[in-house]
Each structure stands twice: as structure tokens, then as C-alpha cells.
Symmetry: C2
Subunit: 235 residues, 2 copies
Amino acid sequence: MSKTIDVCLSPELLHLYSFGEKLVVVVDILRATSCMTAGIANGVESITPKANLEECRALKSEGYIIAGERNGEKVEDFDLGNSPFGYMNEDLKGKKVAVTTTNGTVAINKSRNAKEVIIGSFLNLSAVADHCKNSPHNVLILCAGWKGRVNMEDSLFAGALVEALSDTHESACDPPLMTAKMYEAAKHDLIGFVEKSSHVNRLKRIGIGKDIEFCLSIDKYSEIPVLKGEKLIKL
Amino acid sequence: MSKTIDVCLSPELLHLYSFGEKLVVVVDILRATSCMTAGIANGVESITPKANLEECRALKSEGYIIAGERNGEKVEDFDLGNSPFGYMNEDLKGKKVAVTTTNGTVAINKSRNAKEVIIGSFLNLSAVADHCKNSPHNVLILCAGWKGRVNMEDSLFAGALVEALSDTHESACDPPLMTAKMYEAAKHDLIGFVEKSSHVNRLKRIGIGKDIEFCLSIDKYSEIPVLKGEKLIKL
């Protein structure tokens, strides 16, 4: 195995990792990167991550669909919230979306200087794994977490991807081994385990249980969003 | 369950946690907090964590035994390195030790403002669990990690303590659930799992395999070091 895989469990730890020469897989399972995967798979032309609500609003007059949530809830004057089902609307095909979310867009913006930045989710797990196998670069999975804290669902995805790459990529540090062990123990009842998570309970309180189940579905899509300049487009 | 338990996986994330009212359990399994546990259990009067080598050296003339490692290896002019076996020397009974280590002392110094700071290791796991049960305070386990990164052995200890407190303490966030799941999956072959870790391989290269086995032994001691002012003493 000549390639390595590493896992950064929170954007707050990213300064400890060198990633300029790496393929970075950004993951925010609930729900930013699941939405991005669903959107690109459903024909959205591009998704532009923005740091805040104002930057999104500014793009509205340029014909962008604007999407955003804060603390899990849709921003009132925005077109879309942060539900993958919102991204499946036929009207979005060929459209440009500008999005800001609590954690996911922060992670994407922090990893811009990587060799390549792609978007991972359970929805496109196998496609992401295949792309990593075919890439010449070492892989760093960047978990978006929750306001800087380590979270369960992003770590589980990291473990799933480490497991999928176990024949081709060597663990560079402990977090790949740790997340793979956790995923191995949890994968037979992923929803049951994730339902214990604090963020999931936060989301359930705002009534989006079906989003959670969807975001934990494996390999619904084979498309991968990739960052080109400011935009995520189909790889 | 009226008390909570949380896990901070790296001192670099501690700013995200409020711990002023908490009982903080600092853990650096390989090897700082294992040494501290062994030392206090073997009759060392006090262990004073110091930020750097110079601060330790300054205490030598005041009669302190000075202990320190950098990158796992004993500092040449120091009395002790970072092996728990070094702390079992009969000559250390009743003595004061000043210590600096790569990760453990950093974690202790960062958590000073907690309600109470105690030292945890597999060596005193059940004693620490009992103290948490008897304490009125919520618990935060602070993993020392490796130069800011999350590591396996400290996270496993966190999971072990969460499991031991599962009847009395509710998880405050995801990391307690994550580390408990990992510990549950790994505990039947703890040494086999930890041997895959990067830090363990680093330590093995410098020839301290027997330290690792010892540091993963559960409940060798019932003593708990507690921070009083600048010093760790027997609780």
C-alpha cells in the first residue's frame, strides 16, 4: 500500500494536518454534504458554498437559488433549507445554488488549498471510494462536526470510507483506525446507533426524522461533487 | 440520571467545553497519567506537572526528583523518563517529583480551572469510576492526545470510563457514545487493537513494549492523583 488515509475529526484540528498535496473528502452527513450529493446527482448545475447568509442573499439577484440553515432550521427568506429532499425538486435542474450551513460550508472553505476537494456522504460512498482508489493522492477525510465538536455521523462515514479503502490505503494516524472500529461495530444498525446522537435528537426535535434516515442510506447515487474554484460541480 | 459525562478528545478542542463546574479526568495513557497513577500509588509524595524542561530543572536544587520525556524518550540530564516502572523505585517513596511530558502536562495545565482535576489511567479505572459516582459534579474526560491530535489509547480509556458510568451518567454529546462503542468493540483484545496505533509503533521503536502492556492493565491500583494547587497528591 503506497497511499495513506487520514481522518481529521473536526475543522478545529485541521491546522495539525498538512493537506496541500492531498485529496480531501469533506463530510457533513447531517445534512450539508448529503444535500450537495443529492443536488448534484439530481441535475443542479453548481453549488457555491458561502460563509454566511449575507453572501448568499447577494447572489439571489444574480439568479442563484439560495439555500441556508442555522441550527438546523431553514432561514426564513431563503429558497431552500438543508433537506436533501428540497434538492430533488425538478425545478432545480440546471440551476445554480448558493448555500451556507452551520458546519459544512466552514469545512469546505477551510480545505480549499488541498490538491482536490470532493464531497462525501453515505449517499455516494462507493463512488467516493472508487475515486480515492483511482487518485494518485493521499486521502484526508475532513469531518465537519458540530460547531467544532466531533460528531458521530461524520466519524461513522469516515470509518466507512477507511473500511472501503482498507486494501489500498494505509492509516496515517489513529483516527482512521478508531473510526473504522466504531463503524465496524455500528454498521449493522447504523440508524439505531446514530439515533443516540445529540445532533440527531436536535434534528428530530425540529421534525426531520425522514431526512436522517435518507442521509444514512448507502450508495443512492454515483455522482460526486468536486470543488472547482468557488463552485461545487459534478466530477 | 441527573449527572452527565462528556469527552474532549484533544486539548485543542477544550475551548469548546465549559468545565469550570466539572470534575475533569485527565488521561494520557502512554504514558504520563499511567506514570502519575503508579507513582502516587507507590508512595511518591507529590508530582508537580511543569510546562517545560527548564521549569523542572529549576526545581532540582529544591530537592525534587525531575522527570521528563520529549517524543517518548527520557531527557538526558533528568532523573526519570516517562516509564511507569521508573516510578516504582523504592527510593521515590515520600519524594516530590517535578515532571514535564509532551502531552499529559499540557492537558493538566489547560484544565486547572475545573472544579476538581483528577488523573485517570487504566491502572486506576475502577477507583476513578467510583470517585465520579460519588462526586456531585458532572464529568469531563480530557484526552491528552498526541501533539493536539486525537489518539486511540486515550479515547479507549474514555470509552471504558463512559461504560463504567453508564448507569449513573448520561452522555452530554457524541464523543462519549463514540468512544464507548469503540471500547466495547476493542476491549476483548485491547493490546491487539492498540498495537495498531501510530504512537504505539513510535514507542515500540524506542523499545518500551513492556510499558505499553503495563499501561493497558486494568485496576492495578486504587489510588487517584488529584490536583491541589500546583501538585498532584493522593486523593
